[in-house]
């Protein structure tokens, strides 16, 4: 892991200075704020827009606020994860900065580990900000949620996003430019979406974790999730390990 601390420091500063971290944080903050607001006022908006039609819209509950948040994160969150991860290694290979760093006394493992850690820090900070905003507005507009339950739900959502990021990161390691890497991430996302719709196996995909996140946030019974969680975490580990196996003997 020689050089990891120095490289991680550089990654985090880079995420901030290149505006990736602040921009992603603001986007996630907006979605965190907007999710409970939309859940609360969507029936009123519908009534206003379609005033001449008699539509029965049920009174929104805290469940709708949580569902809205998870829906938003599973759309915008995964796209953000792909956008952040697609150029992380491929971009550096393309520009020559990877060669610049890798002729210094750092291990290739440290280079990859620092890259993914920097990526994970950005996504984690964004999910944290989004979660805090959503929690406060849900409390304000609906009812308080369990801190532990909601916090665990955010952690599960983070795991799903890291999974998509890790697969895109593997793509970024395999190829020399960002666009094909993004393609690999999107294909993985589509496959995950298809598999998520299947009974029994859907839980083993990042999108399938949304159901668990919802149950945890609402403190509903969530059983049989240990194995899917392990499998989903395993996907992250496998994607990163494969990245390293490819990268350690890759010509730069």
């Amino acid at each position: 892991m020689k050089g990891y601390a120095v490289l991680l420091r550089k990654e985090v500063i880079e995420q901030w200075r290149t505006r990736r971290l602040p921009v992603v944080a603001v986007i996630f903050l907006l979605f965190g704020l907007a999710s409970p607001v939309l859940a609360k006022y969507t029936p009123d908006i519908v009534k206003l827009v379609a005033s001449s039609i008699d539509i029965h819209v049920p009174t929104p509950t805290v469940k709708d606020a949580v569902a809205q948040l998870i829906k938003n994160l599973s759309q915008v969150g995964v796209l953000t994860a792909i956008l952040l991860a697609m150029g992380s290694v491929a971009g550096e290979k393309e520009s020559g900065t990877a060669a610049f760093v890798l002729v210094k006394p750092v291990s290739r493992f440290a280079f990859l580990a620092a890259k993914f850690s920097g990526l994970a820090v950005t996504i984690a900070v964004a999910v944290l900000i989004c979660g805090l905003a959503a929690y406060l507005y849900t409390d304000l507009l609906f009812a308080p949620l369990s801190v532990l339950g909601f916090g665990t739900a955010c952690f599960v959502i983070l795991l799903g996003l890291l999974e998509i990021a890790a697969v895109t990161f593997l793509g970024s390691t395999l190829v020399r430019s960002s666009i094909p890497a993004a393609g690999i991430g999107i294909v993985a996302l589509v496959v995950a979406g298809v598999v998520a719709a299947l009974p029994n196996v859907g839980r083993f995909t990042p999108l399938g974790l949304n159901e668990l996140a919802s149950n945890l946030a609402l403190q509903q019974m969530a059983t049989g999730w240990i194995l899917p969680l392990i499998v989903n975490a395993g996907f992250v580990v496998v994607a990163l390990a494969t990245s390293w196996l490819v990268f350690r003997r890759q010509e730069i």
Partner: protein
């Protein structure tokens, strides 16, 4: 003298293209080695193999006592690489970039700051150190790239076109800097500016289509490729002296031919060591005023063009 770089039968193939074809090379420690060749000859491939960024198809190399193909981090502690193709992190300031590189080499605290100041001064970047790299001109970026390559006081320094973006003053400074490194650091420099290589390098290798066509000192090259021709230039104001002198020289048994190239007389001889004193004697007795008399030595460009006659691209991987 001990060799800092040794290549033995180094081969690199990319599919059907042979970028490097059994390269055998020894670069003595402390020397400034100029590595020349046309585009696509294999210069960059060689540097990539020697710095551990790529692996040979066959053959082996040793740099600073370590095989680059081994992936040993110790090698990267001992070498440095300045690649003109590399982009530097534009969001960093000049000083920050050097501090980042210094930290990777293990410098910390006051040692780091003083080393950064030292290389900034050496490369003339003190005033620009607080500016973002993205705003640097091509020449400043090249200086910064050289500065980062000097951070770790390398045993072996690989330079890929180190002066290509610099103005004449910048080139002069960098060449002087390289001169100062002579004897302390082994410099392996690829360049298209033959004049600069001729000026600073004490040994030259020329590669063409992946094959090393020559590896010799500058003096050896000049001796090997020197033609037995003398040049004589007379002081101005002697209108008939040139013609008279040509006639006298033409009668000498050691002279094979004489010619005129503007104000310069060219005298081709059969045996340069015997003809030199003979021509000097003729000049002394003819009473002409001589401005210049010399045995013509080939420039590096002459040698290069004789060894690599075609400059057409030929598909080998650079």
């Amino acid at each position: 003298m001990e060799a800092a770089i040794v290549c033995q039968g180094l081969v690199k193939r990319y599919g059907k293209i042979t970028a490097l074809d059994h390269l055998d090379l020894e670069v003595p420690a402390g020397s400034l080695f100029g590595f020349l060749g046309p585009n696509g000859a294999g210069k960059t491939t060689t540097i990539r193999l020697l710095t551990g960024l790529a692996w040979p198809t066959s053959g082996r190399s040793i740099v600073a006592g370590i095989d680059p193909a081994s992936g040993d981090i110790q090698l990267r502690q001992r070498i440095s690489h300045q690649d003109q193709q590399s982009k530097l992190y534009g969001w960093m300031k000049g000083r920050e970039l050097l501090e980042f590189v210094g930290r990777l080499f293990g410098f910390r605290g006051p040692d780091l700051r003083s080393r950064v100041d030292e290389v900034l001064e050496k490369t003339g970047l003190i005033e620009a150190a607080g500016r973002h790299v993205a705003g640097y001109s091509g020449g400043m970026r090249q200086r910064l790239n050289l500065a980062q390559a000097l951070m770790n006081r390398p045993q072996v320094l690989f330079l890929d076109e180190p002066v290509s973006s610099l103005d004449p003053a910048g080139r002069h400074d960098v060449l002087n800097l390289l001169e100062d490194l002579r004897g302390q650091v082994t410099v392996f420099m690829s360049s298209h500016i033959l004049e600069d290589v001729e000026k600073v390098c004490d040994r030259v290798g020329i590669i063409d289509r992946g094959r090393l066509v020559v590896d010799a000192t500058m003096a050896e090259l000049q001796a090997r490729f020197a033609e037995p021709v003398f040049a004589i230039e007379l002081e101005p104001g002697q209108p008939t002296a040139q013609t008279d002198l040509l006639a006298v020289l033409g009668q000498s048994a050691l002279v094979e031919g004489v010619g005129r190239d503007g104000p310069v007389l060219r005298v081709a001889v059969s045996d340069a060591s015997r003809a030199g004193p003979e021509i000097l004697r003729i000049l002394a007795t003819s009473g002409v005023h001589v401005a210049r008399f010399e045995r013509l030595r080939p420039s590096l460009e002459d040698v290069f063009l004789r060894l690599v006659p075609s400059q057409q691209p030929h598909g080998a991987h650079e």
